[in-house]
């Protein structure tokens, strides 16, 4: 019996599970994270301080989390889905309360070495909980209206809390991510089609009402939309960041300006250059080739998630991996779409690249769960 054959047949136990990780996926995750550290080094003007060094440390911790989570059986993770979800909700409420007592809007809890952002953890907990719910629910009931109420509540309650923080961007992504799980679980397409039509109608209504006495949004909000649609309308106001971001990106060209040579990012033309706008520096310095390479890495990761989900004979694992992959997809799409001016400015990080404690931890947890599903798949 060959090594691979034995891998197919036997259930690995103990530390031997490490041999059964999807090392290809691990390699993609590690290389994307390494690119992230390199960019952060460059963003700081060629220095490990203040971002690249701290981020490397977090990556080591993150790697440990992935391995740790991978070793724990997937059914354990399924079993704690409900407590994890409730814990995340509690966490969100706690921050809300702290925020009220503290100064202004607060989205995190400071543990000293890392600031935990509960909304980040919510994303994973929600996918876990929804996957668990649809694993429990018999297939005939999936599209019944009554049985759709619990998952909708599970999505909308945290979404509302997060929107209230206020963090509209994350809130929308939470709703979208939850919807992906529902979609994967087999909720009737008619619901989604109906939702789509309703959304288009709502948008049309919003614009149609503009300029009338009963317009839905304030003039200011309409102007925000105008600026998004055409940033040059307001080159120094709201459109400023997007214009600068596009200038930086565009000036990168085919092969980029070279490591540490990005004039726009090095000279502070970009806001949040180490977090939400980190891709501009990446693309300016490394160019189109590396930009596409990063997209390809993301794509392959997604491809892996989908093929795994289709092949998996464990419904919970399939839905979990599709949901986590979907969240991952939504994040990099929203981020890149924003910096390239395709989507409005919403503050979401770019997975593996952006600097950030919570985001890195949550990504590690997500990929730990995916690895666990892989290791503990039905053979």
């Amino acid at each position: 019996m060959t090594y691979f054959a034995s891998q197919e047949r036997s259930e690995p136990v103990g530390i031997a599970k490490l041999m059964h990780l999807n090392w290809g996926l691990m390699l993609l995750v590690i290389s994307a994270s390494a690119l992230g550290v390199i960019v952060l080094y460059s963003v700081a003007g060629g220095s490990w301080e203040p971002w690249a060094g701290a981020q490397s440390l977090r990556l080591v911790v993150g790697l440990a989390i992935i391995l740790g989570f991978a070793l724990v059986p997937i059914w354990f993770w399924q079993g704690i889905a409900a407590p994890a979800y409730l814990g995340a909700i509690g966490f969100l409420v706690l921050v809300e309360l702290l925020g009220v007592s503290g100064m202004g809007a607060q989205r995190w809890i400071d543990l000293g070495f890392v600031r935990l952002q509960p909304s980040e953890f919510m994303k994973v907990a929600l996918v876990m909980a929804l996957a668990s719910y649809y694993d429990w629910l018999s297939l005939e009931k999936v599209s019944r209206p009554l049985w759709m109420l619990p998952p909708l509540a599970m999505i909308l309650v945290p979404a509302e809390i997060i929107r209230n923080q206020p963090d509209l961007g994350t809130s929308i992504l939470v709703v979208a991510g939850g919807s992906i799980v529902m979609f994967a679980a087999g909720v009737s397409l008619y619901y989604f089609a109906g939702l789509g039509i309703a959304a288009i109608a709502a948008v049309a209504f919003v614009f149609w009402s503009r300029g009338t006495e009963w317009q839905v949004l304030t003039d200011y909000q309409y102007r925000r939309i105008d600026t998004f649609l055409d940033p040059s309308l307001d080159p120094f106001g709201a459109g400023y960041h997007i214009t600068q971001s596009k200038i930086a990106l565009g000036s990168g060209g085919w092969s980029g300006r070279g490591f540490l040579q990005g004039t726009q990012s090095q000279l502070n033309f970009l806001p949040e250059k180490h977090t939400d706008f980190v891709f501009t520096t990446f693309a300016e310095e490394f160019g189109f080739v590396w930009g596409i390479l990063l997209l390809a890495i993301y794509g392959i990761i997604l491809g892996y998630c989908i093929t795994f989900a289709i092949a998996s004979r464990r419904r919970y694992s399939s839905l979990l991996v599709l949901g986590l992959g979907g969240m991952f997809f939504l994040y990099f799409t929203a981020n890149m779409g924003m910096v390239m001016g395709l989507l409005p400015v919403v503050g979401v990080p770019l997975p593996f690249i952006s600097y950030g404690g919570s985001a890195t931890m949550v990504l590690a947890i997500a990929f730990g769960l995916i690895q666990s599903a892989h290791v503990h798949r039905r053979r």
């Binding site: 694993d135 429990w136 018999s138 297939l139 992906i180 979609f183 994967a184 679980a185 087999g186 120094f236 106001g237 600068q244 596009k246 200038i247 930086a248 990106l249 565009g250 000036s251 990168g252 060209g253 085919w254 004039t263 726009q264 000279l267 502070n268 033309f269 970009l270 693309a283 160019g287 189109f288 930009g291 596409i292 997209l295 993301y298 794509g299 997604l302 491809g303 989908i306 989900a309 289709i310 998996s312 004979r313 419904r315 919970y316 399939s318 839905l319 599709l322 979907g326 997809f329 799409t333 890149m336 779409g337 390239m340 001016g341 395709l342």
Partner: protein, 646 residues
């Protein structure tokens, strides 16, 4: 939990279908992202690279230091004061209120100022620097600079601001600088890029405007790499600026100060003091004045309104206001008649108080008349009838020609933006401008400096200097530009010395002989005697009816309709060195209102200090002493302004 094999199979089918749909959607999204990346980075790359360069390289003009203006003794009249200020950039400061708090520990920020600044910072775009403290002193500037690493978004900046140490004395002559307005920015003849610099100031009036290009200098530039906040990171290239040239004027700041103080009690008026041998203007004062330093940093709307309520404080009366010269013009008529050989000194004319000419009655200022008047007496007692008669004989063309020779009716070459030529009328002029024929009456009026004739105080002073010296004295304000000395030259007037001597004799007697119109304001001391001529120029017509009822006295008229008081003269009478012209608007009579001021100015110039009481007639000394004590001038202060002269 789904355990049933059938359900697992069914679930797998659903997941497979939906998974594929998800995959298609995700692939499409990645495709859109990739395509947009291609569009930005490949298709539009060069366009964006250009924009990036523009972002990065900033050409900054280097503002030259403005040339300074000095008086004849090297005292700065317009100086540049180093100005320090503190700026805040909101985007860099983050929590800018906390930063302001920290800044408040280093420099004092009053709460109301703080509130205003917070408003201003909030209203500006986040990357625009906002001045949070203007004109801080050097210690504060240094303290902020030293602490700048801990004060996020705070910058300390230094620059120059124009400063006039003797502001009020020179408000009209030096003028002031101010921010460039849109009209000045679009003048085709001045396309200096400096005009686009936000804080740049240019001369608005006076010498500052007249010599603006000389004082301004040439801009330099720096090509620098800037970051998004406009903060300079690295200099790529540099061309130094050329500072403006320093200018030395002929004025003496102490004399100017004295003249202004002496004019201070008048509502409106002007005085010009010349050095006869060189034509140099020693003092040129206009009342009312203003504080030019207020204009430099921008005068408030209310302050400007307040200024408007005064009698035209912005008007530079010495060179811009043209007044009817009145009797001071009689020397012109007299010289014209002498040159034409129409009179001899001993010829007399009878003055009965009025005369008949072309069906009109012309009146002498002295209603009772002067009796028999010869040449010298005509000047001494300023008989109008004598000059009506002369004017009729000589004719307007000859009078106008003589007036031009003596400095009237034309502009002098002065570095001032607004210089009036006054008016010496001729027949042609009247035909063109008034579309009516010249009348004999016009000639008569012109002969006594009334009617259409008008002249500036400077022109009257120049005439006085020309009569006193016999040379074509040209007024001169500039002594030196940079290292270039401005020469002064004066050719001969071409008038016979004995004519001029007779005129001077008359002018001497005006002041120094009893019955002279300015005998009250004579001076004592052989070498400090004054010669001069009074003038009272009427600015209204006195009707025949009013004459019958009795002419209304000036004191009973509203201020605006009272006569202008004039006096011109020189000192010392036997060897003239200084010439003066004084106009007191609506001052009443020249002998009462203008002559005393002129005497004080001439004596002050002659003695080089506050004139001693011994120079005045004994009876006047007490009141003169009183008046001198009241004068608010630099010379009398124990500590002359040194402290404010940085």
């Amino acid at each position: 939990m789904i355990r049933d094999e059938e359900q697992i199979r069914k679930s797998s089918r659903i997941v497979a279908r939906r998974g594929l749909l998800i995959a298609i959607g995700q692939l499409a999204a990645i495709g859109i992202l990739a395509d947009k990346l291609r569009l930005l980075q490949l298709t539009q790359a060069s366009e964006y690279r250009n924009l990036a360069e523009k972002n990065r390289i900033s050409v900054r003009l280097m503002v030259p230091e403005r040339g300074r203006i000095f008086d004849r003794n090297g005292t700065a009249l317009a100086d540049n004061r180093q100005l320090y200020r503190i700026l805040l950039v909101r985007e860099e400061a983050g929590d800018f209120e906390a930063v302001l708090d920290d800044l408040g520990k280093i420099i004092a920020i009053p709460p109301e100022v703080r509130e205003k600044k917070i408003e201003e910072i909030k209203s500006r775009r986040p990357f625009v620097p906002v001045v949070v403290a203007e004109d801080v002193d050097w210690d504060e500037f240094a303290a902020v600079s030293a602490n700048s690493p801990s004060l996020r978004g705070i910058f300390a900046e230094s620059g120059f601001v124009r400063f006039y140490p003797y502001g009020r004395d020179f408000s009209h002559l030096i003028g002031y600088v101010g921010a460039v307005n849109s009209r000045e920015r679009n003048r085709p003849e001045d396309r200096d890029p400096l005009l686009e610099v936000p804080d740049f100031s240019i001369g608005k009036t006076g010498i500052e405007a007249g010599l603006d290009l000389t004082l301004r200098g040439k801009s330099g530039n720096r090509k620098i790499e800037v970051n998004a906040y406009g903060k300079a990171m690295r200099e790529i290239d540099r061309t130094e600026s050329v500072p403006g040239k320093n200018v030395v004027l002929s004025v003496d700041h102490l004399l100017q100060n004295y003249v202004r103080a002496r004019l201070h009690e008048e509502v409106a008026g002007t005085a010009v003091l010349l050095d006869i041998s060189t034509g140099e203007v020693l003092a040129l004062v206009s009342r009312p004045g203003y504080e030019p330093n207020k204009f430099v940093t921008g005068i408030s709307h209310r302050e400007f309104e307040d200024l408007q309520n005064l009698e035209g404080p912005l008007v530079s009366r010495g060179v811009w206001s043209a007044y009817p010269p009145g009797s001071t013009f009689k020397m012109v008529t007299a010289l014209a008649a002498l040159e034409e050989g129409l009179i001899s000194y001993t010829d007399t004319i009878y003055c009965g108080g009025s005369m008949e000419a072309v069906n009109r009655k012309f009146h002498c200022w002295r209603r009772g008349g002067h009796g028999r008047v010869d040449f010298v007496k005509s000047i001494k007692e300023s008989c109008d009838i004598y000059y009506f008669t002369l004017a009729e004989k000589v004719g307007i063309e000859k009078i106008a020609a003589m007036a031009k020779r003596l400095g009237f009716g034309g502009e002098f070459d002065l570095p001032l933006p607004e210089v009036s030529a006054g008016l010496i009328p001729t027949k042609e002029w009247k035909l063109q401008m008034r579309s009516s024929a010249w009348q004999i009456g016009d000639t008569l009026n012109a002969g006594i400096g009334q009617g259409y004739v008008s002249a500036t105080a400077l022109q009257i002073a120049v005439m006085t200097a020309r009569i006193a010296s016999g040379r074509a004295v040209e007024p001169k304000i500039l002594r030196r530009i940079g290292s270039f000395e401005i020469p002064s030259a004066a050719g001969s007037l071409g008038l016979k010395e004995n004519w001029l001597d007779k005129i001077r004799d008359g002018m001497f007697k005006v002041v120094n002989e009893s019955k002279g119109t300015a005998y009250k304001t004579r001076s004592i001391g052989k070498s400090s005697l004054i010669a001069g001529k009074t003038g009272t120029s009427q600015i209204r017509n006195i009707s025949a009816e009013e004459r019958k009822r009795g002419v209304i006295r000036n004191e009973d008229l509203p201020w605006k309709r009272r006569d202008h008081a004039l006096f011109c003269g020189y000192i010392p009478a036997d060897a003239p060195k200084f010439a003066v012209a004084v106009v007191v608007e609506h001052g009443g009579s020249g002998s009462e209102a203008a002559a005393p001021i002129a005497r004080d100015i001439l004596l002050r110039a002659h003695y080089g200090e506050i004139p001693p009481l011994s120079a005045y007639p004994e009876k006047q000394r007490i009141s003169i002493e009183e008046q001198q004590k009241k004068l608010n001038i630099i010379e009398l202060k124990s500590d002359p302004m040194v402290s404010s002269r940085a």
